[in-house]
Amino acid sequence: MTATGIGAAVRRKEDFRFITGKGQYTDDVTRPGETRAMFVRSPHAHAKIKSIDTAAASGMPGVLEVLTGAELASDKIGNLICGWMINSKDGTPMKMAAHPALAVGKACHVGDAVAVVVAETLAQAKDAAEKVKVDYEVLPAVIDPAKAQSAAAIHELAPNNTIYQWHLGDAKAADAAIKSAKHVTRLDIVNNRLVPNAMEPRVAIGDYDTGTQNFTLWNTTQNPHVARLVIAAFVGMAPEHKLRVIAPDVGGGFGSKIFIYPEEVVCLWASKRVGRPVKWTCDRSEAFVTDAHGRDHVTHAEMAFGDDGKITAIKVKTVANLGAYMSTFSSSVPTYLYATLLSGQYDIPAIYCEVDAVYTNTVPVDAYRGAGRPEATFVVERLVEVGARELGIDPADLRRRNFIKSFPHQTPVIMAYDAGDYNASLKKASEIADVKGFGKRKRDSARVGKLRGLGYSNYIEACGIAPSQAVGSLGAGVGLWESAEVRVNPTGSVEVLTGCHQHGQGHETTFAQVVADRLGIPIDNISIVHGDTDKVQFGMGTYGSRSGAVGISAIVKALDKVEAKAKKVAAFMLEAAEGDIEFKDGKFTVAGTDKAAAWGEVTLNAYIAHKFTGAQLEPGLKEGAFYDPTNFTFPAGCHICEVEIDPETGHTDIVGWTAVDDFGTVINPMIVEGQVHGGVAQGVGQAMLENAVYNSDGQLVSGSFMDYTMPRADDLPSLKVDMTVTKCPGNPLGIKGCGEAGAIAAPAAVINAITDAIGTEDLAMPATSQAVWAAIRRVAKMQQAAE
């Protein structure tokens, strides 16, 4: 390991601009002649739009244009789409309702965009937006996903508000196992709805060049190429080659910036109409009712146990709320990203899962950090924990008895786990968390009137999505490979163009480490270029913890080609056979001799091309690669949470957190640990604090940071993070991915710990002080009744 190579905790190259205030986020971009957009949004969850009167608004100072769905339709701007086809059990395709960028005919959720005002200044746009008169006829709203299927349809094409009724696994086998089980654990679970809340609100700048007729979109996106593809091919804004999407520094995404949103489309379209750039900057209160939310499952789950606590089956029925429209990847989240992980870390012979996806009059729901896998882990890890308690078996012991121990392991739900050592992470985590000393700590807490609990979460995730052919067969509308281009300059410095996009993950450092390690050149001589469709040929973006496993693999593949070509150049320079050239630590040598050429000499020779003819070798040194993975990767680990609870108020303190994860090869442990910290915080947020609460009228009543509880520094403890390593056999460096692990593992660990402390499983997320207090009271009342 060199000081900057693979495995080194290199300090981030990108940090200088961020800590000095020189980051360039989309809102920091100003285009000459820029105008500002303000959207008029529905205050009703469900309402017919009887008329829109834009006359008064159009006459306001500074107003350039007031547009509605009618103009959108007459300009033939297409609808937004969901790009992953899911078929119901009966073979019928999912019911995708039209999603115009500005509502046509009716508004389907509070915040649905109804009109847009474009004006010289933001204040003028806001002033004018207030003058747009929309006459609504309020319709009954469908809010509760559990009741959606018995309510009047929101979209005509989806009777009973049902998008699909999907299933996976073997129902008969699961039922048989449950029937013959020694014990069955049953749980009803609500996986609470979350608001992603990346700290940077979304921004879009549409800029139409009337001369070239090219469109440029500056956008807060995690995947600029996919945005371009969808806006070109489906929305029909412009041919793909006439649209450039630039995602500069992006202030966090967590999934919410994967999707193609109405505002991006409208800014591009409006820019053409007004002939000037149009910028929209989202307010936080607007973000709450427009950014895709996450989770929102209602689930009944059963786990069957045979002799010695052996898990024999798991059976799950979930209703997934997808909101008012199907967002870009929403259909895949409660299906192939969820049910396929229901085997957890365990050898379970029979698994069956049914998922009904429903429309409601709420903000669309799509992938949010973990996307389906946190929901799956929560189901499995709650069932295992509760099962252990019901069977009187130590929860760690029950897990150990059921761990998958040999690899590869084919689960009954598609996934073939390639490598792992689940016992190793449980063992290491238990030691670090001092599980042995827990009994004493619990007694110490009791002495001061506090309750103490300990909870495990042994999660698994499927990352690095995924072989294109495989996801294609599951309904994905795109392949999920990644591209890379390595451009070596004559002086030996290197630019790597990647289709991944960084919004906090530190690619500019980790990707450069891989290159530095391989080429033996200083990390400062390497630039990572991303986030601009004019620079990078194509890429799938960053989500699903895929940048390391897939994006870096593409870079490695390109580096292989660069090295091969450089060796050819070196062979000409050193007058040796190509097969005798060796490359190590930035130096080319001829085997068995002292003849050598430095990296920089070879790169210069590749470009001056004095040592070979064009017939022998093409000049230059630039190689591209597309890497399509052979499988998902399967990071896994064990998180242990310890809580102390004040029973008088229900206030819960997390007093210990241990995470031992197996991410395969780690490029930069500092960055990987940071990813775990952030993931855990979001998972703790889901478990204890965060909740998107709709009232029965469909108003989002936790619609600001005044009511939606974001985790703060004081809500979290210092985290103990460690690792075990089994390399991923599926990609060249053995990387598994780390971005979502914390968010996947944490909720179950927290709830398992709190329920351990209070002695009841009857506790929903978020386990707020009030919820914990109420649960403790229920236990006390039941005990009183029993006496």
């Binding site: 008088e648 909740n691 936790s702 509880t709 974001m710 002080s769 009030q770």
Partner: protein
């Protein structure tokens, strides 16, 4: 934000004259309640009268058996005042729990009391200590000052200039934070000054801060947690929101009152 005219008086009299001249004006103290709602266009004052440059409205002074705090004294100044910590640490502790450090750098005691947010901390201290609110026109007893949610006895052109807190022999404040906003989900201030025993509650009541007579009565015998054991506060009329039911709030009042009494 809607447009408004901005005024920067340097005396209370000038400020009062401006208020008289602009009926739709708002006084700007710390601004952390007012500016956010103006940004959201939920308030549209025609004029802003910035009190931050009015002289002589800031400072913490111990005068005999009273502590006098200027209306424009910022939360961090009150929290940092050594004189106050020496004579009545419970009062000094109250502003330390308001908002966050940045808010405390701007927020003022006068602004907080005049706003009378039903979840604010200072009203609990003012009522819980039986303070006197001094305005440009008169002196108002705390018991007469807070008249309901966001409403006070202040007249349209009346400006709080200082608050006079009698020094209590024993006092303490306990707060259970609203998890998202940091306001008081419930806050209880207790004090004992001779025979004057007060228990003031903020955050819990939809009409704002209120006293708990049944606790005060019980505490006359002995100012200790034990005295209020078994006395329940009724949830009737208390707030219910997504964070706490009236029942939970009623329960917390009892718990926090006992903890405050133990700390006093």
């Amino acid at each position: 934000m809607y447009a408004f005219t901005y005024h920067r008086p340097t005396t209370v009299r000038q400020a009062a004259n401006l208020l008289a001249k602009h009926p739709e004006a708002k006084l700007l103290a710390g601004g952390h309640s007012l500016i956010p709602v103006m940004k959201l266009r939920l308030a549209s004052p025609s004029a802003i009268i910035d009190m931050n440059h009015v002289e002589g409205m800031s400072g913490v002074e111990v005068k005999g058996r009273s502590v006098v705090i200027g209306a424009m004294t910022r939360h961090f100044e009150v929290a940092a005042s050594q004189t106050l910590k020496d004579v009545m640490p419970a009062l000094a502790g109250v502003p330390g729990s308001i908002g966050d450090p940045h808010v405390r750098h701007r927020g003022t005691i006068g602004g907080s009391i005049a706003n009378n947010d039903p979840n604010a901390d200072y009203p609990a201290a003012v009522l819980g200590l039986g303070a006197t609110i001094i305005t440009n026109k008169r002196r108002i007893l705390a018991d007469d000052f807070f008249t309901g949610m966001f409403s006070t006895a202040l007249e349209p052109e009346e400006i709080i200039t200082k608050i006079n807190f009698p020094v209590a022999k024993k006092s303490a404040y306990q707060k259970f934070k609203h998890p998202a906003s940091g306001f008081a989900l419930v806050g209880v201030f207790v004090s004992k000054r001779g025979s004057d025993i007060r228990v003031a509650v903020t955050g819990a009541g939809s009409n704002g801060v209120f006293r708990v007579p049944q606790f005060e009565e019980a505490l006359k015998k002995r100012f200790a947690p034990k005295s209020i054991e078994g006395i329940a506060v009724s949830p009737d009329g208390l707030n219910t929101d997504i964070h706490a039911s009236a029942e939970y709030r009623a329960h917390l009042i009892g718990v926090l009152a006992k903890r405050a009494l133990a700390a006093a």
